[in-house]
Subunit: 262 residues, 2 copies
């Protein structure tokens, strides 16, 4: 298995970059790799590259970039606006949301938000790790938490908000997305908005529902936990409005390949 690593430096064929501290630790101490071993690199801007370890010791590692494997592409611009949850649920949401193609996570403080503080650094590290695993060419941004008022005051009205509405009138999510397909273009901007455990306060839901850029959607007859609701909405979003029609560029199990592992 070839380690796939996010780096912050510019990447180009024939260049040498220093591994970030995290990547260095992973290559040397976790994966025990040495000079000449292959790695895959991406930085969110220049695509994905085949590289090898040019030097590695306890102080650092330098990586030599041999060949571009994929060009940078554009991915759906979808935010996930979520009320911070308990630690495990938030970690989970970042991991799964990254796999499901979230471009940016926007923590929102609502009336019933229980979690007091977010460890921004840990969430960012989780997002990088999930992006490395799932073959994304980008790492999602983790925005600073904001109060609902501030979020809405600064909202870009061209960013369509998909409001997960557990009460009141709402179109079934597939119907709502099918109706929105006419608005899909590469420049579309979207956001999934999910409330906290315990739900949005009735006044918040009423307020959000009236926004001209919001579409309330229903997620079926069961009461979903906040993280389940967010991931359900994201999964359906990608399948109907997002990049669900694309296939993985490098599948794990190449059809017809000569694999002898069992």
């Amino acid at each position: 298995m070839i380690p796939r690593l996010f780096v912050t430096k510019d990447l180009s064929v024939g260049g040498t970059v220093a591994a970030d501290e995290r990547a260095h630790h992973y290559l040397r101490n976790v994966m025990r790799r040495s000079v000449g071993d292959a790695v895959t690199l991406f930085n969110g801007r220049d695509g994905e590259f085949e590289a090898e370890i040019a030097a590695i010791d306890k102080r650092g590692a330098s990586l030599f970039t041999k060949k571009q494997r994929r060009a940078q592409n554009s991915a759906p611009d979808v935010w996930l606006c979520f009320a911070p949850l308990k630690k495990d649920a938030t970690d989970f949401l970042i991991e799964k949301g990254t796999e499901l193609g979230v471009a940016a996570f926007q923590p929102v403080i609502t009336r019933r938000t229980m979690a007091s503080r977010l460890n921004h650094e840990r969430l960012a590290a989780n997002a990088i790790e999930a992006a490395e695993q799932c073959e994304r060419l980008t790492v999602p941004e983790i925005k600073q938490a904001v109060a609902l008022d501030a979020l809405l005051a600064a909202w870009d009205h061209d960013r369509q908000m998909i409001l997960c509405a557990e009460a009141g009138p709402a179109a079934p999510i597939a119907d709502a997305f099918n109706a929105l397909t006419s608005r899909v273009s590469p420049t579309n901007r979207w956001a999934i908005f999910c409330g906290p455990e315990g739900g949005l306060h009735v006044s918040e839901l009423d307020r959000l529902r009236k926004l001209d850029f919001a579409t309330p959607v229903g997620l079926g007859p069961r009461i979903l936990r906040a993280d389940t609701a967010a991931l359900t909405a994201l999964a359906v979003f990608q399948s109907i409005l997002g990049d669900g029609k694309l296939r993985p560029p490098h599948p794990m199990t190449p059809i017809g390949a000569d694999i002898s592992d069992g």
Copy 2:
């Protein structure tokens, strides 16, 4: 908050049932409820009931059923066939899959399945707890693990298999489900099939792909973890072929209700 509890006994208006050991512990030791306090009961057969605690002490609790709240309804018959994962990921899959309406979980041993043993009792307890939380009227069945060969040998050919295929030809999941909508009737039977971490072996995927009851589907360009893939397929299934058009019977935030919690 009124505790919602699964019981195994028959339920009818005016009847008294003994709480199961788990429900007794929850009411007395966790929620510290006493005689006269309200509970909601369901058993997967008779619908949902408003009840109250008729007696409770350290030996047990009896619950008096006052009124039927919902009649039993039919829910989509969708299995989740999954290769057992690490403990946390399997727990997570049971919880989220229950919220997303899985009728039965079928663990399947594939060539690359890493997890050796499943704690069937713990998984069943997780499923009950998630069903109580999400207002389902049923608790999903946790089937005994079987080898892939045995699963396919006993397969009911009227149960359509949705095969999460990370490699090879596959229709985008929304397209595949839209094409299957013509087959939807209340008697339809479905199964989502997901491989283990590391993917299905090429020979397994080829074999499954050729089955006349299987539809290979693609889940987009990112490589999803096994649990993420399963939940993505389930979420999209319910939204297009399942009960995604229904609304929760008792939303948490009644619109216009007088709530003063903040």
